[in-house]
């Protein structure tokens, strides 16, 4: 990380950049979760926006890839991505795992993907805002210990962020970790610039604070 990099920039907080943590801020036992998924033949990571579903899915997919079980790993953003999901399930080997991030965008085609997976013996691991009916469910939520643990694992903020900032961020965004991290981004930027400019919002020239 270079000087003045904001540890809450999207580069460091996007899914896959952070290890998945549980509500207590402890690392999720990905290996065990992967075993349970294979045994129960399906996993649904369910929770609201910005609660770490994609992050957890990325880690689970990586675990399956290491074991050689990963058939495909797909991010679904629009309804037309249903084509991707169908192709992924159709081409995956029986017994392999297909990870689909964004199950809810499939809409009415979700049943088709699920049926196809069942017929082909493919195990689905999905993220969703609502219940999917898959046998194993991991709910995600936002807690203060989780947020604190994430911040601890981000690049060093040099003491610019304290516990009160975390509590404030979570108070303003109690169910959305992503929004809380964006607020911490703003807090960090304000602090490293010596606080927001007080008084007049007008200035005739920007402060000359080139790097040393």
């Amino acid at each position: 990380m270079t000087p003045r990099s904001n540890p809450f920039a999207t580069r460091y907080t996007r899914p896959g950049a952070i290890l998945p943590l549980d509500g207590e801020g402890q690392p999720v036992d990905i290996a065990r979760l992967a075993e349970d998924t294979l045994r129960m033949r399906g996993l649904s990571i369910e929770g609201p926006h910005g609660t770490g579903k994609s992050t957890l899915l990325a880690a689970v997919a990586a675990a399956f890839e290491l074991r050689g079980h990963l058939g495909a790993n797909v991010r679904l953003r629009q309804f037309r991505d249903a084509v991707t999901a169908i192709v992924a399930v159709g081409r995956a080997a029986p017994g392999s795992v297909v990870c689909l991030d964004g199950w809810n965008v499939l809409g009415p085609l979700a049943w088709l993907v699920r049926t196809l997976a069942w017929l082909r013996g493919v195990i689905l691991v999905v993220t969703s805002h609502w219940t999917t009916g898959l046998p194993l469910v991991v709910p995600t939520s936002v807690t203060l210990p989780l947020l604190a643990a994430i911040v601890e694992r981000l690049p060093d903020h040099g003491g610019s962020i304290n516990a009160a900032d975390l509590a404030d961020a979570l108070r303003h965004h109690p169910t959305n970790l992503r929004e809380a991290l964006l607020e911490l981004y703003d807090s960090f930027e304000t602090r490293i610039r010596g606080g927001a400019l007080a008084g007049a919002p007008d200035q005739s020239a920007p402060p000359n604070r080139g790097r040393s």
Binding site: R14, G16, S54, V74, R75, R80, D81, V83, S204, P206
Partner: protein, 427 residues
């Protein structure tokens, strides 16, 4: 060679999880479009192009005698048409043949169809062309219908181009590093100012006093149109519902559900009209704001003249012109896309108080704009922007405050020696 994007791709990197399957999806989608276009075009071509080509190149010419004429009647559930036809006798290697040839195509009016045959006399001679593979198939005119060809191939052509461009992009982006993809789809060019927005659209309007007149980045006109359209459409639906309810009442029936719906509908309709009228009056009262500048693009440390021309009527408590630098960052939130904006620098160029305007006149004033020597240049990329603009803030008496922005482009200070040549890329 750059292949065009036919629609604005949803912002955000769609393949951060799986490059391979993202490419598969996009490839399949566009392959599907290509196939659909080819199939559709093929069907249309065989129905239109192939018969026309055969008539013009394959049919055999013969001299025919008109032995009859009439109208072929075609009746469907929706309409009846009449197609003029001529019965011809002509010689073929297999012997003489009599067959009908159509002339002019189906016509809805029988009288008009008859006029097409008015100039054809029985026993008259005329050239004809017959299919040597089916001699009883004969025509009396040849040539190409270019309008039909254009329309026929337009849609499938568009599908093929759309799908083909996307398919090529998918193939070219397959299994490549981020840097390599960036070079493949956005080749290094001889642009002397990479990542700086073009100012062509900002310098194509000459000023009346200064060199350039800047376009505004505001959308007040579109806002007004949008509000107006909404008010018209909503109140149209409301009127229909109200009339229906009224007729029911007159007929002695009370549709409670309809009446219940009408109440909130009416509220929204009235609010829409009020909002439109208010916006219209505001736009009219405040009047047009024009800004001219002596030079463009700008450079750090440069000094420029700007001229403000504000029309309207009544008193303006304050008019202020500022120079601002704004950052814009676009990011994904789930399936949605969000853009955040942040002003990081602002300077007042000039300010005027208690400006009185008579109808038909306008306030004009010049000011001097100075760009700091260390100012950042303008920057634009797919998800991030650093943009300069001149903003006119005003407060008219009895009306809300307004702000109108005029984008400007700032180039970096010119280095002493030339510019870096584009680097050869070895892929």
């Amino acid at each position: 060679m750059r292949f065009p994007r036919f629609f604005a791709k949803k912002r955000g990197h769609r393949r951060t999880v799986s490059e391979v399957w993202g490419s598969v999806a996009e490839g399949l989608f566009h392959a599907g479009l290509v196939v659909a276009g080819l199939v559709f075009g093929g069907l249309l071509a065989t129905g239109v192009a192939v018969p026309e080509w055969r008539i013009n190149h394959h049919f055999v010419e013969a001299e025919a005698i008109v032995v009859g004429k009439g109208l072929a009647r075609r009746t469907t559930a929706r309409e009846r048409t009449w197609e003029p036809a001529i019965r011809l006798r002509y010689e073929t290697p297999a012997g003489p043949i009599e067959a009908w040839a159509f002339r002019g195509g189906p016509i809805a009016s029988r009288e008009r169809a008859l006029t097409v045959l008015a100039d054809v006399s029985l026993d008259a001679a005329m050239p004809c062309w017959y299919d040597p593979d089916a001699p009883d198939s004969v025509v009396v005119t040849r040539g190409y219908n270019w309008w039909m060809w254009t329309l026929t191939l337009l849609l499938p052509g568009a599908l093929v181009a759309f799908g083909g461009a996307g398919l090529v992009r998918s193939i070219m982006g397959w299994r490549k590093s981020e840097e390599r993809r960036a070079v493949t789809f956005r080749p290094v060019t001889a642009n002397p100012h990479p990542a700086i927005p073009s100012c062509d659209d900002l310098i194509n309007s000459p000023g009346t006093v200064l060199r350039f007149r800047l376009p505004t980045s505001g959308s007040e006109g579109w806002t007004l149109l949008g509000i107006g359209l909404f008010a018209v459409l909503w109140n149209s639906v409301l009127t229909v519902l109200a009339v229906t309810a009224g007729l029911d009442l007159i007929g002695g029936r009370i549709d409670w559900l309809l009446l219940l719906i009408l109440v909130p509908f009416a509220g929204v309709g009235v609010a829409g009209v009020v909002r439109f009228v208010r916006q219209l009056v505001l736009t009219s009262a405040v009047g047009n704001t024009q800004l001219e500048i002596s030079e463009h693009p700008l450079r750090p440390g440069g000094h420029y003249d700007v001229m403000l021309a504000q029309s309207g009527s009544g008193a303006f408590q304050k008019l202020t012109v500022t120079l601002e630098l704004e950052e814009q960052a676009t990011f994904r939130q789930g399936t949605d896309t969000r853009t955040e904006r942040h002003v990081v620098w602002r300077s007042t160029i000039a300010s005027w108080k208690d400006v009185q305007l008579a109808p038909g006149t306008r306030f004009e004033a010049k000011a001097r704009l100075t760009l700091p020597a260390s100012a950042m240049h303008s920057f634009v990329s797919e998800h991030n922007v650093v943009a300069w603009r001149v903003v006119v803030h005003g407060r008219a008496a009895r009306w809300p405050a307004f702000s109108r922005g005029f984008p400007v482009v700032v180039h970096p200070v010119s280095p002493a020696v030339g510019h870096a040549e584009p680097q050869e890329v070895s892929l």
